[in-house]
Each structure stands twice: as C-alpha cells, then as structure tokens.
C-alpha cells in the first residue's frame, strides 16, 4: 500500500449508519461460521475495519446485505489464514457433489435419510453439532436463511452465487442435516 486512504468524519458517520446497526447480527454470523466466540470477535473487528475503509463502495441499497457480505468474506479469509484446518469446504467434497453444488440445481440423487418421520427429534446440542459439521458452503446458506432470516436474493448477494445455487445449497444442506441427525439416533 503506497498511499493510505484518509478517512474522514463523514466516512465515520456513514459507517455508524450503515454497518454498526448490524453489529449483533454480524457477530452472530461470524460465530456460526467460525464456530468460536473468540474467533468471531476477531472476525467482527476486522470486518468493521474493512467496512469502514470501504464505506465509499456502499451503494446505498441494502446496508444489511452489504455489511453481512463483508463479514462473510472476512470470516472465510480469516479462517483460511488462521484456522485452515477447521474450514471444511466444498473442495473436500467428491467431484460429483461439487459439480452438483455449482450447478443451478441438484442433479444427483436425494440424500437418503434412514427414516422419514415427520418430526425431528433432536435436541439443540445435536442440531448445533450437525450444523457445525456441515461444509461451509452449506452451513452459511442455512445460517443466513434461518438465523439471520435473509431471503434468497440477499443470500445470493452475500455469498456471491446465483439464486439457483442458493436454492440447491439450501436444499442439499438441509438434507445433509437431516441425515446427520438421523444417524445420530
């Protein structure tokens, strides 16, 4: 970096308006992506710094999606740098699964679940564990959908993939979760 960009008070005010209101949500997302509260704190701090430095790139459309996208990207780069082993990624999947995920819709078989009972009998701890074990690409869409309660369009914006991919990842991720929870019993 040759010439550092000088931030002024307007940028700070913009940051306060755009990013700060979503801080709690940012922390929550970071926590779910990183799986540890101390990592989440580091990630949120770094995200805030990135958001502040890049505040001029905010397009004044969707502050929440913009902020969470930064948190999501920071989380993955932070994890790749500091905890490369914890980052179970799409690259660890079989080539068929990978193709499936990157396509607009799943073409493979549905994940077989041992029993199709209507109600899931799993306690919070089991669900949490199963969620934590999902590959990151599945986990992030499920967390963004259920925990952050974002719609498909915002999830697509945050994860930077087409909506079709969001849909297939959500669907497959949920099947995997159910399969995990089924195995546990």
């Amino acid at each position: 970096m040759s010439v550092p960009i000088v931030q002024n008070k307007d940028d700070r005010a913009a940051f306060d308006e755009v990013f700060l209101p979503h801080l709690h949500e940012a922390y929550r997302l970071a926590q779910w992506l990183a799986g540890s509260s101390s990592d989440a704190e580091d990630i949120v701090q770094e995200s805030a710094l990135r958001a502040f430095r890049g505040i001029k790139t905010f397009g004044a459309v969707n502050a929440r999606a913009w902020s969470l996208a930064i948190v999501r990207n920071t989380a993955f780069s932070w994890l790749a740098k500091n905890k490369p082993k914890t980052l179970v990624s799409i690259n660890d999947l079989s080539p068929a699964e990978q193709r499936d995920l990157e396509s607009e819709g799943p073409r493979g078989e549905r994940v077989e679940t041992p029993e199709e009972s209507a109600l899931l009998k799993a306690n919070a701890e089991e669900v949490q564990k199963a969620l934590a074990q999902l590959p990151a690409q599945f986990r992030e869409v499920i967390v963004l959908r259920e925990i952050n309660q974002m719609n498909y369009r915002d999830i697509a914006e945050i994860t930077n993939v087409p909506i079709g991919t969001v849909m297939s990842r959500l669907s497959r991720g949920r099947q995997l979760l159910m399969a995990h929870l089924g195995d546990r019993r």
Partner: protein
C-alpha cells in the same frame, strides 16, 4: 419411495417453506400438499428442522466489542483533527451546534409533513407497486391462504388489515408485503386478476387519495373505519371499482383489538 422423489420437488418444497415461490407455483404447491400425504410428511419434517435450527440458542455479542471497534476506528481518523475539535469544544460552539441542529430538524420535519400530501402518498404507493413488479416476486410473503398472510402482517405491523380471499370474485390472493409510505411501514395485500397484479396498500384511516393515473397505473382509494385503502393496478378503472366492491363486501367487520 424416496428415490422416486424428483429433485425439482425438493427445491420447490424448500422454496415454499421459505416463502420464496412465485405466486402461481405457491398456489399450485399448496394444492398438491393438500392431496399428497408423503409430500406433507416431508413438508412437516422440513419445517421441524427449520424450527430446530431457528430455536438454537444464539450467541450474544460481548458488550465491549462495540467499544473496541469504535476505538479502533478512532485511531484510523487523522488524529490532529480530533485534537483540534476537542480544543474548540466550548459552550459557544455547543449552542451553535444546538441551533444548527434545530434548523436541520425543523427542515426535516417539513419534509416529513410533505409526505402527508396526498399526491405524494399516491405516488409512493404506485412506486411500491412498480418496485414489487420489478422484483422477482411482488410480495414478501407468498400464500393464497389468508390465514397465513394475516398473521404475517400482525407479527410485523402495529395495525394489520383484514385479508379476505376474493378468488370467487375473480381476485385471487397472492400474498402480502410491507411498503414504507412516508416513514411508516404499512401492509400491502397482493391480488391477481387474470394476468394483472393488484396492490392494495392500507394506510391510516381518514386520508383522501383522489382517483388518478400515475405512470400508467390506475389508483383508486376508499376508506372504512380502520384504514384508508389505496388500490394500484394496470387494470381499467372499472375493474378496480369492482375490486373495491368485492373487497369492501368481504372485509366489513371492524377489526377487534
């Protein structure tokens, strides 16, 4: 049984549970759901999984984190400016700031007052309609079931309107969305008539919005004791009038609060 399930079903099921199906598909899917027990089991299962994930205990952010971030960002600002500002801090500048603030806020209030003007209300309602049509789907919640739409509004807004299903009168319920008119979030109910979408926005009662055409869309408004209704559509105004009659006949009962 499982293997025979098509994947497009799985995607549809997920999209339906997430409220992301387009209106026609949602209606069609609800019909299938009512007749297909296996599908219903999968639906219940998916909903119970969603519920399980949603009800997980959520980590709370440590309170000090925000302070830490603020401090970090302060360090990013050029420090001499901060010092200069601190030195100049006095009652005089405080008073000037207060006066300035008062001027700003009074002009902001004037802007807010302007929102009350009815032309402005109508054009904002039309903007909401247009925005809805441009979006992948014109609603936030898709359902042909009034018992889904009404509670959805109730959970989000202080006042929520009756949501009658007017399918028999030719206006099928599509869903609902929240529009922001002035600075108030308000309920908008979506209906479909042939290929036309009708947005019905519900405002505080006692406002008068004249019948007019904005950007090619017809606007028709009426009031009852609970709300002022503004209907927007590319339907001819005669059809909007019959929509008004159908809606008024179906939702006469005042809301019991």
């Amino acid at each position: 049984m499982i293997a025979s399930t098509k994947d497009s079903d799985e995607l549809q099921l997920n999209a339906y549970c997430d409220g992301e199906l387009d209106p026609l598909s949602a209606t069609e899917f609800e019909r299938r759901l009512a007749n297909d027990e296996r599908l219903k089991v999968r639906f219940d299962r998916l909903m119970s999984l969603r519920q399980a994930v949603r009800s997980l205990p959520q980590p709370e952010m440590p309170a000090r984190l925000e302070g830490l971030i603020r401090k970090k960002l302060d360090a990013e600002l050029p420090s001499n400016v901060t010092i200069l500002r601190r030195r100049n801090w006095s009652f005089q500048s405080l008073a000037a700031a207060a006066l300035f603030g008062a001027i700003i806020s009074s002009s902001a209030m004037m802007t807010i007052a302007q929102y009350g003007q009815r032309e402005n209300v109508a054009s904002q309602v039309v903007s909401g309609h247009i925005r809805g049509l441009l979006a992948p789907q014109p609603f936030d919640i898709a359902s042909s079931d009034r018992h889904t739409v009404k509670p959805w509004f109730t959970a989000r807004l202080p006042e929520s309107p009756q949501v009658p299903d007017l399918t028999a009168q030719g206006f099928a319920l599509l869903g609902g969305r929240v529009d922001v008119i002035g600075h108030d979030p308000v309920a908008t109910i979506l209906y479909k008539h042939a290929a036309h979408t009708v947005s019905l926005t519900t405002l505080r009662p006692g406002q008068s919005v004249p019948e007019q055409t904005i950007a090619g869309y017809n606007v028709r408004s009426w009031s009852d004791g609970n709300f002022t209704y503004v209907a927007v559509s590319d339907l001819p105004s005669a059809d909007l009038a019959s929509f008004e009659r159908a809606f008024a006949a179906a939702a006469p009962a005042p809301e019991i609060k």
